[in-house]
Symmetry: C2
Subunit: 668 residues, 2 copies
Amino acid sequence: MDLSLIPVWGIVAGIIGLLVAIFFAKSVLSESPGNEKMVEISKAIQEGAMAYLNRQYRTLIPFALIICIVLLIVKGWPAALSFLVGSVSSAIAGYVGMNITTRANARTTEAARTSLNKALGVSFRAGAVMGLSVAGLGLLGVAGLFMLFGDAETINSFAFGASAIALFARVGGGIYTKAADVGADLVGKVEAGIPEDDPRNPAVIADNVGDNVGDTAGMGADLFESYAATAIAGLLIGFSVYKGHGAGEMLFLLIGVAGILSSIIASFFVRTGENANPQSALNKGLWGTNILTAAAAYGLVNWILPPSYTAANGIVITPNRVFAAIVCGLAVNILIGLITEYFTSNQKKPAQSIAKASETGAATNLIQGLAVGLKSTALPVITICAATLISFQAAGVYGIAIAAMAMLSTAGIVVAIDSFGPVADNAGGIAEMAELDPSVRKTTDKLDAVGNTTAAVAKGFAIGSAALTALALFNAFAELAHLDKIDILVPTTIVGLFIGAGLPFLFSAFAMEAVGKAAFDMIAEVRRQFREIPGLMEGKAKPDYAACVDISTKAAIRQMIIPGLLAVGTPVLVGFLLGKTAMGGMLAGGTVSGFLMAVYMSNAGGAWDNAKKYIEEGHHGGKGTPAHAAAVIGDTVGDPFKDTSGPSLNALIKVMGTISLIIAPFLR
Amino acid sequence: MDLSLIPVWGIVAGIIGLLVAIFFAKSVLSESPGNEKMVEISKAIQEGAMAYLNRQYRTLIPFALIICIVLLIVKGWPAALSFLVGSVSSAIAGYVGMNITTRANARTTEAARTSLNKALGVSFRAGAVMGLSVAGLGLLGVAGLFMLFGDAETINSFAFGASAIALFARVGGGIYTKAADVGADLVGKVEAGIPEDDPRNPAVIADNVGDNVGDTAGMGADLFESYAATAIAGLLIGFSVYKGHGAGEMLFLLIGVAGILSSIIASFFVRTGENANPQSALNKGLWGTNILTAAAAYGLVNWILPPSYTAANGIVITPNRVFAAIVCGLAVNILIGLITEYFTSNQKKPAQSIAKASETGAATNLIQGLAVGLKSTALPVITICAATLISFQAAGVYGIAIAAMAMLSTAGIVVAIDSFGPVADNAGGIAEMAELDPSVRKTTDKLDAVGNTTAAVAKGFAIGSAALTALALFNAFAELAHLDKIDILVPTTIVGLFIGAGLPFLFSAFAMEAVGKAAFDMIAEVRRQFREIPGLMEGKAKPDYAACVDISTKAAIRQMIIPGLLAVGTPVLVGFLLGKTAMGGMLAGGTVSGFLMAVYMSNAGGAWDNAKKYIEEGHHGGKGTPAHAAAVIGDTVGDPFKDTSGPSLNALIKVMGTISLIIAPFLR
């Protein structure tokens, strides 16, 4: 086949993805948004979310411009343009996705008045808009720029642009959502004793906005980055291995094509019966995508790869060996999801052990939760190690990059089922705030419960893919920096390793402190409103929602700067001061430690959350007991763990990698 | 000079250390143990501590014998004998030290009735018995075995023996002390509302025993291990660098001689006025040792090293360059202590920020505490990195080993001022339980406050020296395994790195869970006693102290097995399954991640503790306020962090290293 056509395939598939996204968006918007009150609430959430995104992107403009100018001077206009396209695409995916998910919430509530399947349909299609925007823009950007410039090294600025945005989206969104959540919970639920999502709580709108900017926009930017970085690192490695001999160098784009088309097809499998568990509908979508992608990839490798190819380093690559690497990547996808679910589900032992420990108070709840989080790192480590060894055994470094790309190719459906969660969550909140019949809330609660599980799966996916992406970037860095070894017996390498491993610790400290500071402001404001607005507790007066939204926004933007600069600045400093082997050590240390910390924090947070839910189901005395109070404290500590620091670490380890690719040629 | 005489110097200095220890012990025992009640309480603590040590060592006998037999078969009797000597020496140091410190407590209380200086003298000399036993037996063992077998590779089993004991001593002691502490605090202080060290609390004796088995015996075994491992790794590296050309290969023993003699001299500087701060007395001892060691080392290197020596790899070593490495090691000593103090002292911002966060409840207290702990890793990382780079710049790998040995040479005085802490703490407890005049408690409180600071300094020392020891072991491993590079671009190496970095997470999870389980039993027992023993709360009946001591002992022994086997088994498995480059990656990953986790956990725990003390001093409302209750929860979570998992990680990273030296020749 004509190799030069492969990028065209990528472009076409990307556009198809975007068209289907538009179709889904129209279909969501054609639904009724419900009564006046529901529209009003939905609008408040939407405006809050958009206000935040506007402010976030506006804050990043000077920062992006400086990088653009630097790239223009040292690397030329194609690199600068690629950077711009990468960052703008990430922003567009965020805008479009958020626009739809925040409009879909009231429509889901309205649909839930008549049918569970209809409510699932509205919320899932809204999520799919985000998912297909991410995958579609990612594929379109990489393939389009590659066709334009014909060189993977030039367009890695696209990945860097995506990285830079993702970093701030993760950190800022994570701070926003948790400041609002902690504020709403601590003052509203604990101090004032009013239920979740009660319209009397001044922070309730900010809390709902937070679900969107954290889970939807943050996750979208995160996976957009992984997608772009993996595809480009793959192209770099592919070209160094194949050196123009055969289509293997551009297989990465074709895997992307297979993944996005599979996601689109599988998204039509997502429908449920009235009394069925919506979980199985989403599982069909997820499994369907994986199976279809594997099948398509099997056809592809046998069609376009030569029957056998011997790379310069002597590794023999055959279609079946490449397929084995693809299966490896898809298996990581499934396995990390299952492990994450095991360690966080309230149906399983880990979360239940935390619930039991709550009987002896908050301290034992916390000790047990921290232990569960720490323990949950072992199996993901083994999974990643096995995937690395097997895919390397199959096809060398090329195999590792292929496995990463296979995993990421399913990003469309993963983001879809992840973004579905906040929509369902918001829908429940709107049902509550609009004082609809409790049966509506019951229906949305069914969806929301599923959303918690899919969020865990997506989190596992984001972390696992970040690790594989980082490994691919690490190998691509060695390629670009012309390193044939990175020897940790050399002291500068081990120093790089130390600094790289230490960075996630310092970075998550800043992220957690930021939540603490932002929450402090929020708590003061909510307390002030309860104190100063007469008739608020009695439901006679309306709280000032906008003030809380504003506090979250300002605090998140202010607090994201330091961790962001730390993440971007340290690799540059280490690279130029200590040289490229130190940089290599740093990438390895950062990947390993960042992965461990991300798993630890995310799973501890998830387990605390579900331990609380388990108690709320009536175990260990149920709501209102000291055990429940202890579990609420654990859940609150877990919030910044799982929604701020944990996810931000994914962005951290990838941004270290994409920066390293940019500066690699300049390092000594 | 005659090189063969150098080990004799080591033997003589080791014996001098032990003789001075005996002198100090006699001097402590010649003091009055106080009235009958004090003697009775002291005896209970002593019996509990000895019962625990007996049981711990007895449990380890079969384990040690198996290793001994394996070593006998695969490495011959010198290795087996060295292992035996190493483990028995560690046990002896533990026994002797504990015997004296647990007898010194009541004597310190009695001395405090008349004079602060006298009380300081008793408690410090008791600590010095432990300190000089550790350093003396360490130096005697290494020098003696080296003289006997003339080969560093054979006697590295001595270090392995010390490691194996230290691992279980740290884990078991850590579980013991925190199970007792959590039990005593949660039920006694929080639920029953009785003060600390109240004789009505059934867990009060177990709590005091815990201070000894955790801080004294655990720390002693830990630093004995560091001492032995560093000296032997140093000899290994020294011989590979000097290959018989000059005394440089045995400089390690001489630095040990300088350190122990300096510690002895400086220990006589430790005396205080009646109204002075005892801290400055201990500082004199610490600084005195460092300065004297540096001065002696300066003389030594210029006397015995050739003016210039060019190693096989081209590195030129001069006396001044070696001296620079020595200063590096001593500087790490001072710097890590200062950093630890900054992050944990209640006079400084970090702990105070946690106190402030307590105002909004336990959740914000915990978030802030975790953030402080995470943040506190950055400066120690930079310190270790700088020391590594500078000492390598000065004299290559030899320089790194020299820096580690210089740091460890001061172990005698560090263990002394660390072991002093539990004696002062116990003394206060005895004053309380024996219902002495409050002025006595006031005097012992002065000592106890200093003990908290010196404990922080010693903890920093233990962690920092563990990192340097691990780096020295890592280089010695490369030497013994004939690795001229450990390339992290090779997938098995990066897999080793992943597993090595993951091990501290899993290991500390087990340690924390063990505390949770043991504390659970303890809480149930204390509650039972309060419920079932009539008149206990009114002070009319005596609680069953022995039952609590027994529960802690059994739980600690039972729970130390799994983390212990994990620590010993994983490196062997990785080494034999994945080969020696994977083992190298594992050592690097374990060192880096274990160091970070140890600093994070120790400092978070210390800061939580002092945040609580800060509130108790009257800030943020003082005792009895919700802020105080929140701080108590943080402190309780911090307990297993700082006293179980954190310190155990030091032992973990070193045992990985000493095992690697044993199996290095057998790996492919």
